[in-house]
Structures are given as structure tokens and as C-alpha cells.
């Protein structure tokens, strides 16, 4: 019987069924400092951890991006330091590997997972973070869970799940210069809405998706959750296999050959159908900018702030008015006229080597007008970028080159916007207060953020003559 990629992975992991739910075997569980509630639950209920080797923990949400050489001593806030210490003591107590400060592979869980080979096609990966959907870029069924379910996986190696419906999002056509995978996913969320994929496991298909690099695919899958999706997947192909080869946990020799036999079956059969289909014409997409406080509030960089008065749906109108008030913007104001205060390039959405390369090309030989933080996603990304001299380009332009972590995406390690401060950010959420209480976030691609750092405002980078040569 023909099946979709998602259905193949699902079927492969069902331990048992009951009512509308199935008990699903979980290959890997990813933890971060906020998982302390899960360990508290394990201790309180006197459980044991079934397979510690299938759990991986990361210091990323609370680690400082400055004074990293001082280790824990570099963290002045005692509550923040406590979080970094807790994940170390909890993982130590249960024999779970921690990618903590000082580890060669320390970094954001969704950056390190793929680069360490934790992420592989066909796996079920549950993570203590909603952006676990990122790992679907390699053809895994990956999703975020709360602390109780983290404890459940640690104790049982399984989770109860109702089977999601399937949604195919087909993206076709050649992108315009300067249009990145970040613009694709922002445009998609704008099109289907922030609840547009609720209940669905999404598979991204089409020549535009096939053409994307693995890192660019991660950006697409990463923000699937911003459309409410249960997961976002892309079928593994030659690019995927090339990407994985040589990573620490990726099999070698005959084990690689055996794995390849399985991985090559992980694609949607020709005759398989999805519960729903959405088609996106990539040729129509220009660089995207969010204007509001939800990732569906997106316009073209060439556009203007929408006017709530023209919205007939009263509930939607009220939401737009509230967003404009929070963001300090006026209807019909042109996007390119908005004065910016700060730039943040980083997060599990856009902090990988390719993101930094593009930012460096835009900043090369230029001077930042705005305070600009560049936070690589992992120690490995940082080292690779430095080996290419990217850090010098950033520093020469006046940007700050910092140590890896989530940093100002979630603003809980001390990096944050002040009240009223307005940032161009390569992260994933523009919610009220997300990057600091009263902070105002505009989500954009790395190239757009880098250009904003130089010009102080949003520029249509598609017009840059060199944009044609960017490898996006």
C-alpha cells in the first residue's frame, strides 16, 4: 500500500494502539535547561530513566554569550547560573550526555542535533522545545513536548500520540535574488496563518524545496510550529546523505550501507495522497518582514503596514490594532521607513554557517549603523566561521561576535531588548515581550538583518546587484 513519508515513519514506531491514540517509540529525546521540571517529576515519582543513551541535553537557553571563558563564573545572575548548574547536575545524576559550556559541540539543541548526527532520517525525535520541528529537515518526525512528556519519554521511551493528518506544501519555481528559505517560510505562515497547520504533519515538496541546502531546509522546518504544525518534514535525498556523512553519531562502513538502504525508502510513494495540499509559487516571493506580534503578520519589504480600518473581521481588526500599538507603528507606513535600533543575527532558525556567510557578504567592508549582535548557533559553527575569517568581517564592521546559545531569541540569558527598542531579528517569534519586555521584533532573513545593520532600516536586498551570486 502506498504511504507518505510521515506515515512510513509513524507505522515504524507504533508500539500499540488504544482508542484514537498510539504509543509511539521515541528514538531520541532532547533536553535543555528548562527540563528541570521533568527531572523533578522523575525524582518525585521515584522513576528510573529507561535509556539514558537515547537522551541528549544542551546548555543553550541560559548560557551567557559574553565572558564565556570564565565558565559558570561568567554568569552574574544567580538564578540564571542555577539553571546552567541544574542541567549539569540532573544529567550527571542520570548518566545523560550534556553538551554544556566547554564542550566542543556546545550550542543550540536544534543546531547541534544535526551537526552531531543525533538527527537522522526516519527517527522519532521529541525535544523539550517547540522548535524541535527543525530536525524534520533530515526526514525525521520531530516535535516539541512539555516537561511532563519529557519525563514520560525518559521513563518509558514512548509517548502517546493521536495520528496527525497529513499536509503537503508544494513550493515550486525559481526564487528571486536575495530570497532565502526564511522568506519562504514567513510567506507560507502569512498565507496559511499561525494556526493554519494545526493538527497536521507537514511535508514540504517541490523543486524549490529540493533546491534548498540542508541548512536552509532546517529554517523551513524550524518555523513549521509557527503555523501550528505538529511536525515539518522533508524527504532525505543525496544532499541529506552528503550532509550527514562523517558526523560523530552517523554510522560508517557497512552500518552506513545498511542505514542507506533504509533511508532511501523514506519518501512519499507516487500514489500516496495527503489529507490536504497547499501550493506556493516561489517566484512571487520577495524578502519578507513581520510588522506585528505574531509570525503571520508579515508583509513584503516593498510593502506598507496594513490598515486595520480596512479589515472587515472585527476580531482580526482588534488584533491588528493591538499589534500596531505594541509595535509603535502607523497604518500605511512604508516598511522601509521604519527606523531600527538593534540587530540580532542568531537563533535555531538562522545561526548556521550559511546564514553567517551571507551576513558576512552583506557586511564585508561596511560599517554597522546599529548595535549588532551575531550569535553563532554552536561551538562548531563558531569555529568554522572563524576559520573562514567571518568574525573579522563582523568585527571590522562594528558588530559583536559572541559565544553560542539561544541568546536574544528567547531573551532569558540576560541578552534582551529594552522597552520600546526595535530590532531586526533572524529569530522565529515576534510575540509581545519575546525579546525583552516592551521590545519590538521584526523577523527577517540573515541577509535582510545584515543589510539593516548597515543602513539602519529595511532595504530591499533583491535589488543588490551581488544578491544574484549569494548561495541562498
Amino acid at each position: 500500500m502506498s504511504a507518505t513519508l510521515f506515515e512510513k515513519i509513524w507505522t515504524n514506531h507504533v508500539v500499540t494502539d488504544r482508542d484514537d491514540e498510539s504509543l509511539i517509540y521515541v528514538d531520541r529525546v532532547l533536553l535543555q535547561e528548562n527540563s528541570f521540571h521533568a527531572f523533578d517529576k522523575i525524582r518525585r515519582e521515584q522513576r528510573s530513566v529507561r535509556n539514558p543513551a537515547q537522551a541528549f541535553a544542551f546548555s543553550d537557553h541560559y548560557v551567557p554569550t559574553r565572558n564565556r571563558e570564565l565558565g559558570l563564573g561568567g554568569i552574574t545572575d544567580p538564578e540564571i547560573r542555577n539553571m546552567v548548574e541544574l542541567i549539569a547536575s540532573d544529567t550527571d545524576a542520570y548518566g545523560i550526555e550534556l553538551f554544556g559550556i566547554g564542550h566542543d559541540y556546545q550550542g543550540i539543541l536544534h543546531v547541534v542535533g544535526p551537526e552531531y548526527g543525533i538527527t537522522q532520517p526516519g527517527l522519532v525525535i521529541a525535544g523539550a522545545d517547540s522548535h524541535t520541528s527543525t530536525h524534520g529537515a533530515l526526514g525525521a518526525y520531530a516535535f516539541g513536548i512539555g516537561s511532563s512528556e519529557v519525563a514520560h519519554v525518559l521513563a518509558t521511551q514512548t509517548l502517546w500520540r493521536s495520528k496527525p493528518r497529513t499536509l503537503q506544501i508544494t513550493v515550486t519555481g525559481e526564487r528571486q535574488p536575495g530570497v532565502s528559505s526564511k522568506d519562504l517560510i514567513l510567506y507560507l505562515i502569512r498565507t496559511i496563518g499561525s494556526g493554519g497547520a494545526v493538527g497536521y504533519a507537514v511535508e514540504y515538496t517541490g523543486d524549490t524545496i529540493e533546491q534548498l541546502s540542508i541548512e536552509a531546509r532546517m529554517t523551513v522546518c524550524n518555523m513549521s510550529i509557527e503555523a501550528g504544525a505538529r511536525a515539518g518534514l522533508i524527504a532525505p535525498d543525496e544532499k541529506t546523505f552528503d550532509y550527514m556523512r562523517g558526523k560523530p553519531l552517523i554510522p560508517t562502513g557497512s552500518a552506513w550501507d545498511q542505514a542507506m538502504q533504509h533511508w532511501q525508502t523514506l519518501k512519499t510513494d507516487d500514489q500516496a495522497t495527503f489529507d490536504r495540499d497547499v501550493r506556493i509559487d516561489a517566484t512571487a516571493i520577495v524578502p519578507q518582514v513581520t510588522w506585528g506580534t505574531n509570525p503571520e503578520m508579515v508583509v513584503d519589504v516593498t510593502g506598507t503596514i496594513p490598515d486595520p480600518a480596512k479589515e472587515n473581521d472585527l476580531e482580526r481588526r482588534a488584533r491588528m490594532e493591538r499589534a500596531l500599538e505594541y509595535m509603535g507603528l502607523q497604518p500605511d507606513q512604508s516598511i522601509q521607513s521604519i527606523p531600527l535600533d538593534r540587530v540580532f543575527i542568531g537563533s535555531c532558525t538562522n545561526s548556521r554557517l550559511e546564514d553567517l556567510r551571507i551576513a558576512a557578504r552583506v557586511m564585508d567592508g561596511q560599517t554597522c549603523r546599529l548595535p549588532t549582535m551575531i550569535v553563532p548557533g554552536s561551538e562548531q559553527v563558531k569555529r568554522a566561521a572563524e576559520a573562514e575569517g567571518l568574525h573579522q568581517i563582523f568585527e571590522n564592521a562594528g558588530a559583536e561576535w559572541l559565544a553560542p546559545g539561544c541568546s536574544m531569541c528567547v531573551a532569558i540569558n540576560g541578552d534582551k531588548l529594552g522597552p520600546g527598542e526595535r530590532a531586526a531579528s533572524t529569530s522565529n517569534r515576534n510575540f509581545e515581550g519575546r525579546q525583552g519586555q516592551g521590545g519590538r521584533t521584526h523577523l527577517v532573513s540573515p541577509a535582510m538583518a545584515a543589510a539593516a545593520a548597515i543602513t539602519g532600516q529595511f532595504d530591499n536586498i533583491s535589488n543588490y546587484s551581488e544578491a544574484r551570486s549569494w548561495n541562498l
Partner: protein, 203 residues
Amino acid sequence: MEPLVTLKATAAPLRLANVNTDQLFPARFIKKPRAVGYAQYLFHDIRRNDASELDQNFSLNQARFSDAKVIVASANFGSGSSREGAVYALYDAGFRALFAPSFGEIFASNCLKNGILTATLDQPTIDAIQSLLLSSDDASVIVDINSETLTLPSGESISLTLDPFQKHCLINGLNEIDLSLEFHDAISAFEATYRQQYPWISS
């Protein structure tokens, strides 16, 4: 987990779509231990005005909804992150049942693990209930998990469609881990076969 069978309580309307977990429970409070009580952080920023005073336009700040245990919310309630603190904050503030046209799915899953009911009703029904709660003096409702009904102050009874597993867990106050450990042998058998078939995954 505390069983939830029937609940007679005040229901508060929250007419705001896409309420996200950052609004429910701002990230800067996640590092607080649960023992401090998370109720103080619930809707911390959106229930206050620029002067950091409680905003009386925010329904949950109004005296008549102060003892609410039920929220009738708008679409996509609980979207955003997986932080379970958002649910702990609701729980610690006394909430046990949430109704909305749709929920963020990780959030809904977290609610169930903590004995909080999430039930979806279509948009017109939610609109009507919110209007009723806003306009009537009596905002008390009855939630009955067994009969799958929500009874409004007007006496009108609305039928709910609950997932059988959710219903079972709520009524019995089950700890899901205990329940799943009953499948220990099935998990072990699955795992053994799986590891044989895909040896590179766990080696």
C-alpha cells in the same frame, strides 16, 4: 493528578486570538521553582498596563471573574512554545477547564498531563458564550466530563466531544507514566525487534 469529573465554577471570557505561551507565562519566569507558586506569573504582562497596574479591561482582572476556574478563550489559544510553566501558571491560579475554537497542540497536551480539560467548540458557539459571559451577571457554568457537557448560566447545555483517552485520564486523575508502564513488556518487545532491524540507531 487530581481527578476532574464535574466542575461548577465561574467562567471567564478571554476574547483575544492567538494567545501564546509568552503571554500566558513570560519566559523570564521559567527559571523560578514551582514551589514559589506560578499563579503570580499568569498573563503577567498582558494583564497590566504601561504603568504596571492591573488593567481592568482584561477580563481576568475583573472582580466578577476573580474566582474563575474556566476560561472561554479565542482561536489558537496556547500557541507558541512547549513550556509547561504556562500550564502550571493556569493550574496554580485555579483553572481546570479551557474552551476555545482551537488550541496550540503542545499546550493542549501539557494541559491534559496536569488535569486541565481543553475542549474545542466551533467559533460561533465560542463567540456566543463569550458574549453571554460578558453581558450576564451570572457567569457560573457546569462542566461534566462523564456526560461531555458544558452547561451555561442560561441553563443551556452544550455537548462536548472529548477524546476517550483524555476523558479516561481526567476522570481517574491518572498519572500517564503509570499507565504507560503497564505496557512495559510491549515496549521491551518492540525495542528488541527495532534494535535488531535498525542497529545503527542505538549503537
